[in-house]
Amino acid sequence: MLFKNDAKARAQHQAVRENAGWYRWTHDLVKVTGKDSTAFLDWLFVNTVGKAAVGRSKYTTMLNEDGKIIDDTIVMHMGEDTWWVSTLYAPQFIKWADAHKGSYDVAYEDITKQMDMYSVQGPNAGKVLNALLAQPVDELKRFQVADNKIGGIAVQIHRSGFTGENGYEIYCAIADTAAVEAAIREAAAKFDAPELTILEVYVRSLPVEKGFALRQDMYLLTPFECGLDWSVHFDKDFVGKDALLKAKEEGPKYKLVGLEYLAESYEDIAQREIVYSYGVPCGFVRAAIYGYTVDKNIGFAVIDAKHAVIGEKVTVGQNDSPAVITEKSWL
């Protein structure tokens, strides 16, 4: 939990918003190879990842046969017939890939334990990277991934992140992680960019303010219920397409919305706390956190579509904590 008066959390949060901050956060990573790798990934994902050229990446969700989200990932095109899938659920992804491999000429491997990833985020992240890397990152576009070097160590730089600020992810071999971390620490210090040590700052407080949800927030909703219409490409086949088409016709049953908690703090609200409209259950909480830029207790909730009205007052949990339904982005 994060609280308004937590000076350390506030400082780490604001460093990313106003300057830069860095942290180690190795997502699970699955390497997918083979001549059918592109077609296979396009079968698994709703977005057309095949449109990403080598050196580019795409965000996409993955659905079950019912058209419901079971994962959301960044898919990076690392080379001809070589992809990296960045997920928080590699073991589950592998099982799902096994179930849908069919006759695709494809191989996949969980390389999480072989790779490490550091993230540098914030308006001055580029300056930190330029002080760190052999080649400047000025020309690197959003969702572009490129080889680079830290000293003599080979790294991949992905311009991306989960804070809503300009940011970069640095991938390195696990054997090089200590040297890479030391180099990042040294470069970041030159710009007074701190290491973020509070998980909830970089996984929840920063992303939620910008409307960035985790897979767990969207789990078993449709992309339409999460406002991810733009990522669904019905002009190709993918797992769950028929069910999703039907769901689109019928309209959303639920909506992932923002929730602003109006009490001073939210200690009584867990991740599945029940949301009530005039005393009647109408949904459940998915996230509750303090946002230090907006200076509010905010979060996400899954609400019955008919009750998901922006501005609608609701209560949450056993203590009838007052809250209001909002858009799911505050900045």
Binding site: M1, L88, L199, Y219, D268, Q271, R272, N319
Partner: protein, 400 residues
């Protein structure tokens, strides 16, 4: 709109007289029953070992050892997989907290993780069904979590300072466990009696109005951890009826037995404590009235009828998820058949034979005040596949 075809179905325990105990009430009741058994056991301990520090250290030591041996690397890795705990989580600093938080919620200890960082974890509870047991148990839980932390320590050293700086068992409004990395916070290595100190960094005290009455599995039908993984109420109920017995009864009883000079002495004191608890359970006449209402006992079942005790035992076993069958249920006798291994081995890897002795003694004395002194309760076939719990008339000139 046409009428509904039938009433909706809900889960619950049906008493012998058809009264329905909703599943959440059944679960809460069963959890408190485990805590009550534990409270009796700890009275045995206090008689056997009058020195507070000696007995507390002894149960801390045994629970630490048992948790170390029960929760090996493979077990903990499976735990990581089960909860989808990301690779970046530092096992040495955080595992105990993740483990402890889920266990709390399965056992209806309602609260929250206040802080969860690389270097510090703070967990706060508003309720604890075990708050009647006493502070030795509060101490003991810190030893169990120390094992979880130590298990994952990369250098085999205790790196975490763990303090239960508040405990409902001590009269505090909250239970509060704080784990702080020793190297970061300059904390000393702790002995068993050092775990109830104040932490190095300030705590966050949740105001009373933001407290919660029930654990997540009661109020939200499921437990959801920080990584979004969930366990259903049904799953947690089953988990608690198995493992809820292990940490608070099976582990400490090993040390408590050793406090006695002989098996006979342990058993003598054990029976005296459980007898007293049984006799006192229904000494108040309104307690019997409350029981009758809870079980839905009809007026035809009079004050001197063994079926009241039989119906009670059946409800206790049903809420504890112990399969059992009524063999006799008349105004002259009640017989309940139960699988002996299941009765004692709720968690099969850690059977507790004292459950038979404890409940037989408890119920034999309980029936004296719940019904009348004409009635007794005894178990037959304790060494057989099935055990038969009898409520019947018995005369014993040396009855205690």
């Amino acid at each position: 709109m046409p009428l509904n075809d039938k009433l909706p179905s809900y889960k619950g325990v049906e008493t012998v007289w058809g009264k329905l105990i909703p599943e959440k009430e059944a679960y809460e009741y069963a959890v408190r029953q485990i805590a009550a058994f534990c409270a009796n056991l700890f009275q045995v301990m206090r008689i056997l070992e009058p020195d507070y520090e000696k007995r507390t250290s002894a149960i801390c030591e045994i629970s630490y050892m048992m948790n170390m041996s029960a929760s090996g690397e493979e077990y903990m890795n499976e735990f990581f997989d089960e909860w989808n705990i990301p690779e970046f989580c530092k096992k040495d600093a955080w595992l105990g907290a993740i483990f402890g938080d889920s266990g709390d919620e399965y056992e209806d200890m309602a609260g929250r993780v206040i802080q969860f960082t690389h270097d510090r974890v703070e967990k706060e509870l508003d309720t604890c069904p075990w708050d009647i047991v006493g502070s030795e148990l509060c101490n003991m839980t810190t030893a169990m979590f120390t094992a979880n932390f130590d298990l994952s320590s990369p250098n085999g050293e205790n790196e975490v300072c763990l303090n239960m700086c508040e405990a409902r068992g001590c009269g505090d409004r909250h239970c509060r466990v704080v784990a702080e990395r020793r190297d970061v916070y300059g904390q000393p290595k702790q002995g068993w009696m050092d775990h109830m100190q104040q932490p190095a960094a300030p705590i966050h005290d949740t105001p009373r109005e933001r407290g919660v009455r029930d654990g997540q599995i009661i109020r939200n039908d499921r437990y959801s951890n920080a990584f979004g993984e969930e366990k259903s109420f049904e799953w947690a109920y089953r988990w608690c009826m198995e493992k809820g017995w292990v940490w608070c009864v099976a582990f400490p009883i090993i040390a408590i037995r050793d406090m006695a000079e002989s098996e006979e002495e342990f058993e003598r004191i054990f029976k005296i404590v459980f007898s007293t608890a049984g006799k006192n359970a229904f000494i108040e006449p309104f307690a019997v009235e409350g029981l009758r209402s809870w079980l839905g006992v009809p007026h035809e079942i009079g004050k001197n009828d063994p079926r009241l005790m039989g119906g009670y035992i059946k409800a206790v076993l049903d809420t504890q998820l112990v399969p059992c069958e009524l063999e006799r249920f008349t105004k002259d006798e009640v017989v309940i058949k139960v699988d002996t291994e299941t009765f004692n081995g709720r968690f099969p890897m850690a059977p507790i034979d004292e459950l038979t002795t404890g409940y037989e003694t408890l119920w034999h004395n309980m029936v004296k005040t719940m019904v009348s002194t004409e009635w007794s309760c005894w178990f037959e076939g304790k060494d057989d596949e099935y055990m038969y719990i009898h409520v019947g008339r018995k005369i014993d000139k040396r009855m205690i």
